[in-house]
Symmetry: C3
Subunit: 474 residues, 3 copies
């Protein structure tokens, strides 16, 4: 069965519904359309994501459709894997493939993406970015592959041309603390019509349970010429943050399974550090260290002004066999329950009332939106509500999110949309989806007499540009 | 940016949409309007709230707009605080202010309330209660302040006049067990067109971790001439409940972080009590004592008939600095996960099947609605589903609530609406919001062929009046 | 008050709205109707349920309306109990009653079912199955009882006639591992127009905390002539599964409070088994044994191909007094929080990547849909998303379910609808409800430009028949 067969019939003809994602009810839909049109072509502000900086710096053509749209997008490969496809056959983990063969597998399995966010983004990329209106299927696989390949070989589809065509104002990458960031410097000097900023992502240097932690800390200390002491360790981290700030970074990103924070004295921390680097710390101590370093990162953010973004609640590398064969970020990371209220209390007791401190909370456990994040963000001047993340970055989830947070926190405490993606071609689609979802939510409030259209309009204007720039200090 | 600017244009003209909060779809909206009109002007039954009894007893004019609408409403002050306003500048915690200056801050920040429940209530209060159709803003602040002040200085805006104008049938206050309740007696004798009843709220005398617990228990025992023994302690509590009942109380309210209940023998309880009052109990023992006293309160409710309302799941005073500077109930109380099914089991094992016992469960963790509260309330004759509380007392949250509980528990197990507020002027708006939300939910069921309009009508009639009177034994 | 009074006026006239459960908005409703009509009369595939096999095998007339529609349906009796009815007066737990008297109680309390799934199903049964269009009430109780009784005494209302009239293609029962399944064999040989298959349900033999565990294990070992050793125990279970497979079983069902799984060596398991059967195991060890046996059941499913269905998250027999008086499954089972991601990790580490292994996860904690089940099912080829279960088997809950899982997992990872019921007459209503709910959800995606109507149509076709047959290996 190919549930998208219907689309094949229309191949060649434009298939994108201009009113896509708008509310069903006609009057509300009219309001949503009017609101959306205010921001439809606004510049893209992307303060957090995973686009490799080399793409923009080197501006080399994308090699092939498979590498660009399938292999490196774990949103796509995980669902193909669930459908019985071997990740190796998609080139995941660097396994050698014939791109055309892998593309055929993707096209044959296309139906599994029906109704998903990935399917929606891919359709947008094919149609709106690549200008190809062909439904992927066994029959169209080769034609699609060749059509896309032909485009990718032309200048307008090189990364920088697309960057400018997408109207990207700011794009943040995510980088290792020891990265010298020379590529960011090159881009800054290159006259690109938009900024590409680094983001400080120190997890591997803060989590004793991260593979290679001890050697990574060793490299960090060595790089900064610091002794293996807690003060030296903090100083090295501080120095790397300063390096990032000199290269335009405005935020530091932290990914943790559990938003657990711990306060302790310098002395306690110093001896715990020695136990941890010596591999003498037990699970409880390692968790305490991790929790304390999150608090130390908050302190540094208060000191150096980097916005602190916290992505919490994901159990990583759930399948050991997959991890060993394909590495991390290959689809087997799953959310778990998260407790921000009790977990972040030590950190907020220290820094929560500081108005210059920005802490943006991203969740994949949507129960925390109305229960924890909105209430905290509507009291602490430092706490901001992160946009729906990962599995929740989708139209229905966005509607649930707005409904869950707005009635207690309003719109002013949000982060604005974050695409958080490595799928470069999906960036316009992702931002457009958020704009349509927010226009739809606001339109409902207008239809329900809870906002005037003028009020809704200026709120949407703010959400799309000024808000993320304010929250991320751009 | 002022997202509400659009409203300013319409100042002077009526801005309240008569169909506000009704469903978008026209036919459903028509049904909702018809249902709403049945109950739009029905008397207000408010079985749980926090209006200071002095207001009704002394009937003094409200001092000024700021004290009335801003300073004492932590729903309002918390969002202003998140926006960078110092709570002291709003007069929170008794900090001295110039009311007009504080009002200007509120009016300048008005935009942050767009889309929130607080913003909706405030608009209702300004327009429907005070008859002022001016959008708060920097420009309108002084004019608004003066217009409201002028109203407050006139007899029709004195508390008792408003009480009667609001059509309040019953209003319950929340009171300390040692309160002599003479003000309630005075009101009862005053010929007010409506009842003002006290509610027994003993938390501070039951929780060893409450500040001043030992001295409070000492005062309780001394007041009732009881010895410092567990039987004396229970007897003193029983006596105070009887005092409340003599003054018209029909319910006892319990606020706990965790709905944890513990059964134990009289002997165990007696020795635990001695350890607790002597300050010798550790955290585990104090938690057990707290859990056992909740069970003892249920026993007393079975004996004396007071309805037991349980407000569970809030972590109080999350920010120590704020607590020390401004005191409790100043916006830094946040929900946490709650487990009613396992936590209440010991209590329900004892008293759950008693049909004369009424236990009303209020949650701020909305995941328990479909998972725990509706299933328990649709088996135990003693368990009732509390209306959406606090952060969930808002139109969208009410729709989620009805959707979550109705399919397994129907409408008969609900508590009816509870405004739970100290914001006296918001009482009509809060009840009107619930009536519109319930009419909208019922209208959808009618539109979906799940209820007849006649059935929906009589359900709504019941929800608005008879149901809360039945559940709260009014 | 009788909120359904409105219906009485229409008695005798058809009251079922042909567009019931469809979306409110007219265009979306039109799409939903069109989709629904594709599958409205499709054969019923019921891969999991609790209809007693004797009913189909013996084909005896149903004794009376009360036994058929009330006494044995804990969905119905629990809400009557909450309303103050004594379960004994309904005949629960085998308490002797006059069926007519019990029916009158049910009819008088009918209003409590307004808006519930049970009320909806009962209306469908009365109208669509029994052809009786009378609203239950005190006035209509006897007339209804007599009308239904008259039908039940006629051949067209005997179980097998109804089975064929309902268009049941496959119906799975749930059976004890020691059942000889001769009734299933008889039915298979009887020429019934449809299959009746057994399901292996071994909980009582796997859970040391189950009442009678030791003696049940003894009976199991004795029946298969195995020694009281862990290998003998496993072999006996394996043999019973083989017996079920020979009688057409395609799945094994597991009901657990907590989806906790544990891996351990054969040696550890063997000694733990001895401790458990000897009653020497403490709570922690019993939990570990339970968790390990779930992993062993998965291993056997990998070996013998039985689909593994996991129903997790229910605290059973919450009210001891009710359990002692009426037995299990009498309405006092309540959901609790569930953790599939961490709980199932040991099991999935072993078998999660096996494409021949089918593990279907059913939840009553709807927070896991978007957070845990959809993400896991969209990576592990073995994991399937179970349809909304028990308290969530209702129209609104189904809409929340589809919204929660589809954007990350699509439609291909679902189990298809499972009625999970003992209420034989409600089977068509339950499947029809799911078809209308899925048609409504798909229609919204079409209206929002996220799916073509053709795509939605073929997805719905698949969900209703091919999908459950694929997932349950039918």
């Amino acid at each position: 069965m190919d549930p998208r067969r219907g689309r094949v019939a229309t191949s060649g003809a434009p298939t994108r519904d201009p009113e896509r994602l708008f509310p069903a009810e006609a009057r509300t839909r009219d309001i949503a359309r009017g609101l959306y049109e205010r921001v439809a072509t606004a510049p893209i502000v992307s303060p957090h994501g995973h686009v490799p900086v080399e793409w923009i710096a080197h501006d080399e053509p994308f090699t092939d459709p498979t590498a660009l749209l399938v292999t490196h997008d774990h949103y796509v490969t995980r669902l193909l894997h669930a459908s019985g496809v071997d990740l190796a056959d998609l080139g995941v983990g660097g396994h050698p493939i014939d791109p055309r063969e892998a593309w055929r597998i993707f096209a044959e399995e296309w139906r599994v993406f029906a109704g998903t966010a990935m399917g929606y983004w891919l359709e947008e990329e094919l149609h709106s970015v690549l200008g190809i209106d062909l439904e992927p299927s066994a029959e169209t696989a080769d034609l699609l592959f060749d059509s896309i390949q032909a485009k990718l070989d032309t200048p307008p589809f090189r990364p920088r041309a697309l960057f400018e065509r997408f109207g990207i104002d700011v794009l943040a990458t995510t980088d290792d603390p020891l990265d010298d960031l020379h590529l960011h410097a090159e881009i800054a000097a290159s006259g690109l019509a938009g900024r590409v900023l680094p983001t400080f992502r120190p997890d591997r240097y803060l989590d004793p349970d991260a593979p290679g932690f001890t050697s990574d800390v060793g490299r960090l200390l060595g790089h900064e010429g610091q002794a293996t002491t807690f003060p030296g360790y903090l100083e090295a981290l501080r120095a790397r943050r300063a390096h990032f700030i000199r290269h335009g970074a405005t935020s530091a990103d932290h990914g943790v399974e559990d938003p657990h924070t711990v306060d302790m004295t310098r002395e306690e921390a110093a001896s715990l550090f020695q136990a941890v680097v010596a591999g003498r710390a037990d699970a409880r101590q390692r968790r305490a260290f991790r929790g304390h370093m999150l608090l130390q990162m908050a302190r540094m953010s208060v000191e150096d002004g980097l916005v602190m973004t916290l992505h919490a609640g994901v159990v990583r590398n759930h399948s050991t066999a997959t991890f060993e064969r394909f590495g991390p970020d290959t689809g087997h990371d799953f959310p778990r329950r998260t407790d921000f209220v009790r977990g972040l209390r030590p950190l907020l007791e220290r820094f929560g009332l500081d108005k210059s401190f920005h802490l943006v909370l991203f969740a994949v456990d949507e129960t925390v939106y109305s229960r924890e994040i909105a209430p905290m963000a509507s009291f602490y001047p430092s706490v901001y509500i992160g946009a729906p993340w990962w599995f929740l970055d989708a139209p229905d989830a966005m509607a649930r999110f707005r409904s869950a947070v707005t009635e207690s926190a309003g719109f002013s405490r949000g982060s604005g949309f974050i695409d958080d993606t490595r799928a470069f071609l999906s960036i316009p689609a992702r931002h457009d989806t958020a704009r349509r979802a927010d226009a739809s939510f606001l339109a409902r409030l207008v239809r329900e007499g809870r906002l005037t259209e003028a009020a809704a309009g200026s709120i949407l204007d703010d959400i799309v540009g000024p808000q993320p720039k304010r929250v991320f200090k751009l």
